[in-house]
Symmetry: C2
Subunit: 389 residues, 2 copies
C-alpha cells in the first residue's frame, strides 16, 4: 500500500478497550485513515455512535437479538448493518489496508482468519488466535502474504526491537510482567485473596478477564506461547521477568551480548499506533517516559511455585502435543468461575491442570491446522472445566 495515501481500516471488536483506543488514535489522525467497517457485541449504543462519527460503510453486531436496535438507530443513514456470527465474518472479509482484530476470546478466531485472507495487514490484539491456533494463523499469514503486527504491548515491543535486526540472531526474547497485585504475596496469603483484590492492577487498566490473568501470571504464560509462534522461536528462546514498573515491555537478546528493549508509559495506544502507522510511526498523545521521574526499575524472577499458571503455560509451550486451546479454554472458565465466586484464586490453576491432564488423549488426534478441530478442543475443555466446578 502507498504509505502516504489514506489507509482503509476495519475494526473487529470496536467497542472494547482496544477498539476504542484505536478509534481515539484515528480521530486524532483523520486525514490518514478511513474506517470502513466496525463490529461489536452487546453495546449497540457505542457501536452506533462510532458508526456515525466515523461514517463507516458497514457495521455488525455479533448479537442477533440486537439487530433491530442497530437497524433502527442507523435508519436515517446510509450505513449498512447486519447481525450474527456471519455478519462479523462479512465485516472481516472486506478488503482493507488494515484490519484491527480485537475481538476478545475464541470468538475472534474465525473472523481473524478471514481477515488474514482479505487485509493487507492484520493488527492482532486477540490473544486466542496465537495461543489456541498459532500454527494455523502463522501459516495463513504466510500463505496470504499478510503482514501480522502484534498489538499486545509486549509483542509490539518485540516487533519494534526486531525491526532492522534478524530473528536468526536472537538468543532470547524476554517479556516483562508487572507481577500483578499479588507479586509479593506468600503462598499462604494467596489462598485467601478476593476478586476485588485481584481486579486492582497496579499499572494497566484493562478488562476483568485479562486483569485476573495478570494476577495469576497466566497472562504472561499465554504471551510466551504467542511470542513463540509470532517470531518462530523455540520454547527455550522465550522467557519472562517480573518488572513491577511496566516501563520496559520486552527485551530481545542477540548472539553478540547486545540487548534491545522497548519502553513506554503503560498505554495501549503505543502498540496500537505502531500497528496502524507501520512501517512509519505516528504522533500520539502519549507522554514520553521520564527516566528521572521513574527513578528506578526493578526486576525479579517469575515464581512458578506461587504462580503455577505460569508453569502450566510453559509446559504447554514445551510439549509437543497441541494443548493451547485446552489451556486457554480451561483458563477462561476458571477465571469466569473466580469472578462469579464459584472458585477461589488458587483453584484457577488446579482446574486448568486437571483439564489438561484429562485431555491428554483427545489431544493426540487433533489437527492443529484445522480450525474446526481447534474449536472442538476448545469446547471440550470448557465443558470439562465446567464439570469440575
Amino acid at each position: 500500500m502507498d504509505q502516504n495515501s489514506i489507509k482503509s481500516v476495519s475494526i473487529l471488536g470496536a467497542t472494547g478497550t482496544i477498539g476504542q483506543n484505536t478509534l481515539d488514535l484515528i480521530r486524532r489522525n483523520k486525514e490518514k485513515f478511513q474506517v470502513v467497517a466496525i463490529t461489536g457485541n452487546q453495546n449497540i449504543k457505542e457501536l452506533v455512535k462510532q458508526a456515525i462519527e466515523f461514517q463507516v460503510e458497514f457495521v455488525a453486531t455479533a448479537c442477533e437479538e440486537k439487530y433491530h436496535e442497530l437497524k433502527e438507530a442507523l435508519a436515517e443513514t446510509n450505513i449498512q448493518c447486519a447481525a450474527g456470527e456471519q455478519a462479523i465474518i462479512e465485516a472481516a472479509t472486506r478488503p482493507v489496508d488494515i484490519c484491527m482484530a480485537a475481538i476478545v476470546g475464541v470468538a475472534g478466531l474465525k473472523p481473524t482468519l478471514k481477515a488474514l485472507e482479505s487485509s493487507e495487514l492484520v493488527a492482532l490484539a486477540n490473544k486466542e488466535c496465537l495461543v489456541s491456533a498459532g500454527d494455523l494463523f502463522m501459516q495463513s499469514a504466510k500463505q496470504h502474504q499478510t503482514k501480522l503486527i502484534p498489538v499486545d504491548s509486549e509483542h509490539s515491543a518485540a516487533f519494534q526491537c526486531l525491526s532492522g535486526h534478524q530473528i536468526a540472531e536472537i538468543t532470547k526474547l524476554t517479556l516483562t510482567a508487572s507481577g500483578g497485585p499479588f507479586r509479593s504475596f506468600s503462598k499462604e496469603q494467596l489462598q485467601v485473596v478476593t476478586k476485588e483484590q485481584a481486579l486492582k492492577h497496579p499499572n494497566w487498566e484493562m478488562g476483568a478477564k485479562i486483569t485476573i490473568d495478570s494476577a495469576t501470571l497466566m497472562n504472561k504464560g499465554l504471551e510466551l506461547i504467542e511470542a513463540k509462534h509470532l517470531f518462530s522461536l523455540t520454547a527455550n528462546q522465550v522467557d519472562m521477568v517480573v518488572h513491577p514498573q511496566s516501563i520496559i515491555h520486552c527485551l530481545v537478546s542477540f548472539i553478540d551480548g547486545s540487548v534491545l528493549a522497548q519502553l513506554s508509559e503503560p498505554d495501549m495506544r503505543v502498540p496500537i499506533a505502531y500497528s496502524l502507522s507501520w512501517p512509519k510511526r505516528m504522533k500520539t498523545p502519549i507522554e514520553p517516559i521520564n527516566l528521572v521521574e521513574i527513578s528506578k526499575m526493578d526486576f525479579e524472577a517469575g515464581d512458578e511455585e506461587r504462580f503455577p499458571c505460569l508453569k502450566l503455560a510453559r509446559q504447554v509451550m514445551e510439549t509437543e502435543t497441541f494443548n493451547g486451546p485446552a489451556l486457554n479454554a480451561a483458563n477462561e472458565i476458571a477465571v469466569d468461575a473466580f469472578l462469579s465466586d464459584k472458585c477461589s484464586y488458587i483453584q484457577i490453576p488446579q482446574i486448568i491442570e486437571n483439564v489438561l491432564d484429562k485431555m491428554q488423549n483427545e489431544l493426540k488426534t487433533i489437527d492443529r491446522f484445522c480450525i474446526n478441530d481447534i474449536l472442538q478442543t476448545d469446547k471440550l475443555a470448557r465443558n470439562m472445566a465446567l464439570n469440575l466446578l
Copy 2:
C-alpha cells in the same frame, strides 16, 4: 562488500584498549577477517606481537624514534613497516572493508579522515573526530559514501536502536552516564578529591584520560556533541541521564511515545563486534545480561552545578560558533594537569571555561570544514590552557 566473504581490516591504534579488544574478537573469528594493517605508538613489543600473530601486510608506529626497533623485530618476516605521522596516514590509506579508527586524541583526525576516503566502512572509536571536526567528518563520510559506525558504547547503542527506524521520527536521544566515582559527592567534597579517587571508575575499565572525563562528566558532554553530529540531530534532541549501573547505554524516543534502548554488560567488545559484523551480528564471549541478577536500575538527572563540564559541553553544542576543538583541547590539557598534580579536580572546568571565553574572537573566523583550521584552533586552545596553569 559481500557479507560472507572475508573482510579486510586495518586497525589504527592497535595497541590501545579498543585495538586490543578488536584483535581479541578477530582472533575468535579468524575465518571472517584478514587484518592487513595495524598502527601503534610507543608500545613496539605489543605491535610486533600483533603483526606476527595476525600476519599483517603493513605495520606503522607514530613514533619515528622507534623505527629501528620495529624494523629489527620484524626482520625475519615479510611484514612491511614504517614510522612517523606519514606512515600512519599510509596505513589509513590502504583500501579495506573495515578501518577501526581507534587512535586516541587529536592525532586521530588526519588518519581517520584518510580512512573515510579509502575504506568501505569506518568503525569510529576516536572521539575527537566528531567533537572537534564533526561537520567535516560527516561531510566526508557522505561524500565518499563510507559507512560510519560508532564504536563508543553509547553511540553504538543509538545506532543499533535506530537500525530499522527513522531518524526523522526521533524526538530525543538519551545517552546514559554512570555518574562516575563522584556521583553522590557534594560540591564541598568535590573540592578535595584526588586523582586516585577519580581513577576508580565504578563500571568500565578504560584509559586514564577517559576515566577522568567520566569523573567530571565531560565524557558525557563530549558524547552529546558526537551524537548530535552522528545522527544529524539538533542540540535539544540529545540529552543524558545518570544510570549508575551502566546497563542501558542509550535510549531513543520516538514521536509515538515509544522508546528503544540498547543494553549490555559494560564491555567494549559489544560495540566493537557490532561495528565489525554490521549489518549482521557475530558471536562474542560477552555474557548476556541477567536482569534478575541486576535486580534494579536507577536513573537520576545529571547535575550541571556539581559537574560544570557537562554544562560547558552543552553550551558548546548549543552555540553557533564552532568551539568543539577548543573545548576538547582545553579539556585534554586540564585533565593532563590534574593527572600530574598541577591542578585540582574542580579547576578542570575552570580552565576550560577560561579558554573558551578567551577564544571567542578567534573562533569567529575559522572554517569548520578545514582540517588545518581545526588543528590550528586545537593548538591555540592547548597553549592557552597551558598558560593558565
